[in-house]
Amino acid sequence: MAEIREAIEVAVKALSGKLEIAEAKAKAAPLSRGELNELKVICIGQNQSHLSFMLQQLRIASKSEKPALGALINEAKKSAERRISALEGQMARYEAERAEGARAVDVTLPPRTPVVGRLHPLTVVRRRIEASFRSLGYEVADGPEVESDWYNFESLNFPPDHPARDAVDTFFVKGGGTGRDRLLLRTHTSPVQMRTMLSKKPPIRTLCPGRVFRKDDIDPRHLPVFNQVEGLAVDEGITFADLRGTLAAFARTFFGDRAKVRFGPTFFPFVEPGVDVAVSCVLCNQKGCRVCSGSGWIEIMGAGMVHPKVLANGGIDSERYTGFAFGMGVDRIALLLHGLPDLRLLLENDVRFLDRVWSS
């Protein structure tokens, strides 16, 4: 008679297993009404269900076993009913929610977007330039915007009364003194290089970003306030070829792998030799376009080997150490990168402009 008990116990397990599968499925998505009915029939239906099979077995069980087996079956039935009812409840709530519609929204209405702030394009471009040079080992330095004549000019090999100063129209501070102490708005960030040399021993790799001032009338190509990033490397054995290699590496990280640089001779008092640096036009692949004026090259910076006089003014032995310096206009590069027609856009802060163009 042990077979009957065994058969019932197997059926109880099978019933529970069936429900477990259904419950697992319902965790992902409520069961449909059809699925639930089917489940009910198989588990506790009148005919051919797990329950009806157990009751059949009970009928043929011996009298002495009947009470215990009956209790076992009853227990299984109640549990099954409770579990099916839970699944039904879940289904009913789900159906009610779908039927209700009261909490439905028009999902196409505008979202409640938090106010999104943005960085200024000049900040984005400056950071990209900084990142390129940081990866080459440069640290960022900082200095005053109101400078003395000595730091801005004389120490950088612009002697007083020298025509080289004509190229840099300078704003002076009213009541700002005379001679080498005369206060002015820095015309380049090179004074930061001088301050760096005076405060640090080589090796030096410094990047000097910042605002600079030139007395230019405001027009699409000129602003009296603009931004530069200058760099300085001083070490034993730094060569002119290193300058070319460094700027070529920068051009590739900044303008893309195919960018090349070209040097052309020019004159800046603080470097010797001094060069204009052009980058191959990445917009037209050097076929010639409006941006590069058909030349295939775009001039983006000035550079050169630091003049021995400037090294000496910076307290550095120019026989032992050599160095190079370079400088570029952030505004002009921003103009170039974004195809902007007019520098003035950059300082108008029209939010339609600031919001539309930029992502960092």
């Binding site: 409640r112 702030g117 200024h120 109101v146 070829a241 290193d242 040097f263 108008e348 339609r352």
Partner: protein, 694 residues
């Protein structure tokens, strides 16, 4: 600077140079051809000649460069012989240099018996091709020499020069006497000062030295006797004189940059020959050639070029033979130093005043070798140190303000005096003005970036963009203790609605949005929360303005609603503005220990307090805190109400007090005990009631 190709070619024997190739090669050696007119031999270039190369500002000098760049021969035909006759020049005029430190050399020749007339067609055509108008044969001759070999000349009417004691017309190179007057060729009367160098006759100034001649002594149609001046002036002296008079001439451009002291005689001969050819007359024998007693003798400089140093600087090898040939072609006299291997002794030609040291020779060589020959190498690896803390902080602040929903602006650093004035009390010092501004609104360095933000806001409002959140991280300026102080700050402006959605009523930005930006900035930077203290600034709305106090009571700027009259001027209604001093934001330590959050949830109690409106929140908060055990974590305001049910002059504040312990759960009883203690303390405030507590 306009340069004629055929004029250049007169120094380049052989076939006519190709215009395009010549332009390209000149550019490659540093004389940038920016434009080109005409074709073939009639080609005229627009060449940019840098300030250090005055020797390239004439056709002979530029031709020398072109010869090197093109690999061609350079040949100077020279002035050619000129017949002299009659009385020696020295008997007809006298020259004295008084200002010997400012005039190194003054050479003069005399031509008598000329008939004024035009220059020959060839000279006129040359001058016209480079945009110089022909005037008369003598004047054109001087202009031709300037453009030909770079020596500025001046022709005086000898009969107009006052005579000295010995009866000879006299030239004196001296500083002007204060108040002396001179009408220059441009018919402007100039009042001179004692730092201006002049050419005078025995009585009065007759020319601004190196800049422009005087009208009175200029040659005219009736002139028959000419004194030709060919001098070498101190560049600074000419520059000062020209600047003081606001003048810039072809002559001053060259003198300021430096002329060749050995060219004065060549210039005189070339001009004299042309004048005699065109106007007849007789060139009087001899040159009146006065050399300043204090001037350095015109000894050629000699420099040593170490080939090893050259190669080390460039990072590439240039053979010594190549160096020798380049330097020779440029007019230098290089020689291998006897007994020393790898050193070239180089004598610098008199016209290359820019070449002063070895590094200048290095540039000469590499620009002629070609920059495209330079390899691309990298300096040795360098481990950078920390970047400037100020730069790092500024960028962190920008990121934090962007995260708070503000958009970064950048403005001019200068504003108008009137725009700036209201903000001076909160700026770093007295206003800093520009001595030579572009005019208004650019005369004054801003006392706060808020001024620029107001301008930006106005720009946007006028374009119907009225809901604004802008910030700028920048410097403000002020005179303080005799120095210009630069303050780094983060300024912001909120105007219009802060956030609006169709589902709810929009809210205008108000004072608390302003303090919220400040608090959010501090929180984002890991600084202790700032406090706000009521303040009265004339530029902010009374009662809606505060000072920002960082930890320890450090003043860290201000925030508030802009005063209505100012706001109106900028087309704004109740904008909220603020300026946070970045130096005053406490910097978190580089290494800090992090407190582990408690495992126990803690609990909170609410208190509803009815009190006089004048009692500030800060007092309620501090009163509660003072009663609190160590378990008291925070006191927050939940709600504030005034209206029906609350007596006029009173408000009802609902606050919650949060308790917690890292070590244990708190019992209901102890929390209630603390709440009652807090309530009793609040009750002790004047005219204050706490709901549910007697």
């Amino acid at each position: 600077m306009k340069m004629s190709l055929s004029w250049l070619a007169s120094y380049l024997p052989g076939p006519a140079p190709d215009p395009a190739k010549t332009a390209e090669r000149l550019t490659s050696v540093g004389f940038i051809v920016e434009g080109q007119e005409g074709e073939g031999p009639a080609t005229v270039y627009d060449v940019e000649v840098t300030a250090n190369r005055p020797d390239g500002m004439n056709h002979r000098g530029l031709a020398r460069e072109a010869a090197v760049a093109l690999g061609r021969e350079f040949r100077d035909p020279g002035a050619g012989a000129v017949a002299e006759s009659g009385r020696p020049a020295a008997e007809l005029a006298a020259v004295f240099i008084e200002a010997g430190d400012l005039c190194t050399r003054y050479s003069a020749r005399v031509i008598e018996g000329i008939r004024m007339g035009p220059a020959c067609a060839a000279v006129r055509a040359r001058l016209e091709s480079i945009g110089s108008n022909p005037i008369s044969a003598p004047v054109d001759a001087t202009n031709h020499v300037l453009w030909d070999i770079g020596q500025p000349l001046h022709a005086f009417d000898l009969d107009k020069l006052a005579t000295g004691k010995d009866g000879r017309p006299t030239i004196v190179v001296r500083l002007a006497r204060p108040g002396e007057k001179l009408v220059t060729l441009d018919e402007v009367e100039r009042t001179l000062t004692e730092d201006q160098l002049v050419i005078a006759d025995a009585e009065k100034p007759v020319a601004l030295a190196g800049v422009m001649g005087g009208l009175h002594s200029a040659i005219s149609d009736s002139t028959t006797r000419i004194l030709l001046e060919s001098a070498h002036f101190h560049p600074g002296a000419v520059r000062r004189t020209a600047k003081a008079n606001g003048m810039h001439t072809d002559a001053s451009h060259r003198f300021e940059r430096g002329t060749d002291p050995l060219t004065t005689l060549d210039g005189l001969d070339r001009a004299a020959r042309m004048i005699v050819a065109d106007c007849g007359g007789a060139l009087r024998p001899g040159v009146i050639d006065v050399i300043s007693v204090v001037a350095r003798p015109f000894a050629a400089a000699t420099l040593s070029l170490r080939i090893a140093r050259l190669n080390r600087l460039l990072g590439m090898e240039v053979a010594p033979e190549r160096c020798l040939s380049i330097l020779k072609a440029l007019g230098f006299a290089p020689e291998r130093k006897s007994g020393v291997i790898g050193v070239i002794e180089v004598t610098v030609p008199s016209w290359r005043i820019d070449v002063e040291s070895e590094i200048d020779l290095v540039e000469e060589i590499i620009r002629c070798v070609g920059y495209d020959q330079l390899p691309e190498t990298m300096p040795r690896v360098f481990v950078p140190g920390e970047s400037a803390a100020s730069s790092i902080l500024e960028d962190q602040v920008r990121d934090q303000l962007v995260a708070l929903g503000l958009t970064e602006a950048q403005n001019y650093s200068f504003v108008s005096r009137d725009e700036n004035a209201p903000f001076v009390p909160a700026g770093p010092g007295e206003p800093v003005e520009i001595e030579n501004p572009l005019g208004e609104p650019f005369s004054t360095l801003r006392a706060t970036p808020v001024v620029g933000l107001l301008r930006s806001a106005q720009h946007n409002v006028r374009r119907s963009r009225v809901d604004l959140g802008l910030f700028e991280v920048a410097r403000s300026f002020g005179w303080k203790e005799g120095k210009v102080a630069e303050r780094r700050s983060a300024a912001f402006l909120l105007a219009g609605k802060r956030q609006s959605h169709w589902s709810e009523a929009a809210r205008q930005a108000d004072f608390f949005d302003g303090t919220g930006v400040v608090a959010g900035l501090f929180a984002g930077l890991g600084a202790p929360a700032p406090r706000f203290k009521a303040v009265s600034f004339p530029f902010l709305a009374e009662g809606r303005s505060a000072r920002i106090m960082a930890a320890g009571g450090v003043l860290a700027g201000w925030v508030g609603v802009l005063a209505a009259p100012l706001a109106e001027g900028w087309d704004l209604v109740d904008p909220v503005v603020g300026d946070v001093d970045l130096n005053a934001i406490p910097k978190p330590a580089a290494v800090t220990t992090v407190e582990i959050p408690s495992r126990f949830p803690g609990s909170a109690v609410d208190l509803t307090v009815t009190h006089r409106k004048e009692i500030p929140w800060r007092l309620l908060e501090e009163t509660v805190r003072r009663t609190g055990p160590v378990e008291l974590l925070a006191v927050d305001a939940n709600n504030r109400y005034a209206g029906p049910g609350v007596a006029p002059g009173f408000v009802k504040t609902n606050l919650s007090v949060r308790f917690g312990s890292p070590e244990r759960s708190l019992s209901r009883e102890e929390v209630n005990g603390w709440r009652d203690a807090a309530a009793r303390a609040l009750l002790a405030l004047p005219e204050t009631r706490v709901d549910g507590i007697e």
